[in-house]
């Protein structure tokens, strides 16, 4: 031998370094692309991961594969023509995108919304929340490897989609909630159907709990993984179930009620870290399951006291007069706080319409909470944040 041993310092995943001499057992780091085409990135997210074996040392998120220039497009259309474009952002919760935009325009344009329309918005919105959470919970099961839960969720989501189809003729991109009201009325028959669905659905949530949430392996996989402390969540602007999973009871429906939410009685679900640590994947997941029950509660109350009346001023379907100015309004989307920043120069359409997409803010925290996890955990963490790439990339 005779050579001078050149010792290199190799960083350890848990922090610190270890001295490695030539001839020692040496590990190499590997760059791994998770996505843009990967079964568990929920679309076209790309995460470049630096791994040591299966342990993630660092990761970097790349987005933009689904960028469709929403903000540029809507500068060239009228106020009412914007709603179909908002549908295409968060395509799993289109109703909420419509709602957020409509509320922002109504606030700036001083548009009166009929009371019946407000109730319809709440019923449909909460139904949309159930549908979105079902999707999230189901695909989360898929990420963890439990395929059956996914199909159970889709079975129930199908019913909500059929209701939406009956209400507005579309299954995914509804263009239903418009500035000034909604585009069609809910007949008594539909209200009955929604009521039946809630009665049918409440026991089904227990089924999901039995099959997935309380499953030993599922808890084993998700509890204590991807822990997001509250200060980090706030620092990164996480909202919705991700923030509530870290233990802060912030829900815009309670904190800054829009629509008529102040009249309804429901609980804000927060994570308690009952299976692992506060702010882990299981907490974030469980919030969605429990929120579905709260949504059912809200729908029941709304169905009981929905008034008769108009659902929109017909002339508002053509266009809305909006005075010069700007407004920023946030609604509690199933994924977090969806904000619309609208600037008007008094003309027919928006001068500038900027969107605060909840998934966009939530996914930014991924590198922080996935450090030191395994590749299999990465999938679990991405799933627990519940992103929709249509919204991240807009």
């Amino acid at each position: 031998m005779g050579e001078a041993t050149n010792v290199t310092e190799v960083p350890l995943p848990q922090g610190g370094t270890v001295a490695v001499k030539p001839g020692d057992f040496r590990t190499e780091e590997m760059l791994l692309n998770i996505g843009p085409q990967h079964p568990s990135t929920h679309g076209v997210l790309r995460v470049v991961v630096r791994t040591d074996g299966e342990i993630i040392l660092d990761s970097q998120v790349h987005i933009g594969y689904l960028h469709r220039c929403f903000e540029k497009v809507v500068e060239n259309v009228t106020w009412t023509q914007v709603t179909p474009y908002t549908d295409r952002m968060d395509y799993l919760a289109s109703m909420y995108n419509n709602l957020g935009y409509s509320l922002a325009v109504e606030k700036l344009g001083d548009v009166e919304v009929p009371e019946r329309a407000s109730y319809i918005r709440i019923i449909i919105g909460e139904l949309q929340r159930i549908a979105s959470h079902l999707m999230s919970v189901g695909t989360y099961g898929l990420d963890v490897g439990a395929i059956t839960a996914f199909l159970y969720c889709f079975r129930d989501r199908e019913i909500t989609l059929r209701i939406f189809e009956e209400v507005c003729g579309q299954r995914l991109n509804y263009n239903y909630i418009r500035p000034g009201g909604v585009s069609g009325d809910l007949t008594d028959e539909m209200l009955k159907k929604i009521d039946d669905f809630i009665d049918y659905f409440l026991p089904k949530i227990d089924e999901i709990d039995n099959l997935l949430s309380m499953n030993g392996i599922f808890i084993y996989r998700t509890a204590g993984v991807g822990i997001l402390p509250l200060d980090l969540a706030l620092d990164y602007g996480c909202t919705g179930p991700v923030l509530r999973g870290s233990g802060l009871a912030r829900d815009l429906r309670k904190d800054e009620p829009y629509g008529l939410y102040e009249q309804f009685d429901f609980d804000v679900i927060t994570g308690k870290g009952e299976k692992g640590q506060l702010g882990d994947c299981w907490d974030r997941y469980m919030i969605r399951v429990r929120e579905m029950r709260e949504s059912c509660k809200i729908i029941k109350q709304a169905l009981a006291k929905i008034p008769e009346g108009k659902f929109i001023e017909p002339k508002l379907l053509k266009n809305v007069k909006v005075k010069k100015g700007e407004s920023y309004l946030k609604v509690e989307n199933p994924r977090g706080e969806l904000g619309y920043y609208i600037v008007s120069d008094g003309k027919k359409g928006p001068y500038r319409c900027s969107v605060r997409a909840p998934s966009f803010c939530n996914i930014a925290v991924l590198p922080e909470i996935s450090r030191g996890c395994m590749v299999a955990d990465m999938v679990v963490i991405i799933g627990s944040i519940d992103i929709v790439m249509g919204e991240v990339d807009r």
């Binding site: 903000e71 602007g237 909202t239 100015g325």
Partner: protein, 171 residues
């Protein structure tokens, strides 16, 4: 805190650095000079009566003569909002980055840079986020013209009407 109280608190603290408010906005909007933005932001976050702990959105607006960088702040404790606006030069817009105060600003500032070309000084990784890395121009500026082609992909929007009849993906 109501809007007036927030404004008063800020004016008491910073005086002349608060350039004014924007009356056309429905939310409390405070215009600040770019030199004082960091100081004011830090105060907004750390002051217990303000405690704007959640950065909601960083965005931009192109007013053709100037570009505004807009920061929307929320307080989870006091449930009030604040909008901070910084005017930037239209030719070479520059603005201090608030990433060191709220990490949430990271991606939002990258997006605003991507769309408006505002250089956020002090940002750790100011690269394009939604557009491709080699995209030219800043799409959300009002004087933006879409390039005729991008890596051989023709711009159909401008060539509407003279699109080739047969689409041949290989040729």
């Amino acid at each position: 805190m109501t809007s007036e109280e927030i404004l008063k608190r800020l004016q008491d603290q910073f005086g002349e650095a608060i350039l004014g408010t924007d009356d056309s906005s429905l939310n409390l909007t405070v215009k600040v000079a770019s030199e004082t933005l960091l100081e004011i932001s830090r105060f907004c976050r750390d002051d217990s009566s303000l405690s704007f702990d959640l950065l909601s959105l960083v965005s931009g607006v192109d007013w053709t003569d100037r570009i505004e960088s807009v920061i929307h702040l929320d307080s989870t404790a006091h449930k009030h909002h604040l909008v901070l606006k910084v005017d930037c030069d239209h030719e070479s817009p520059r603005c201090p980055s608030v990433v060191e105060i709220w990490n949430a600003a990271d991606w939002h500032e990258r997006e605003t840079y991507d769309m408006f070309g505002i250089i956020y000084e002090g940002h750790p990784n100011l690269v394009r986020i939604l557009c491709a890395e080699d995209w030219e121009g800043y799409p959300l500026r009002k004087d933006y013209l879409m390039p005729d082609e991008y890596h051989g992909i023709p711009n159909d929007f401008q060539q509407a009407g003279k699109r080739p009849q047969k689409y041949n993906p290989r040729g």
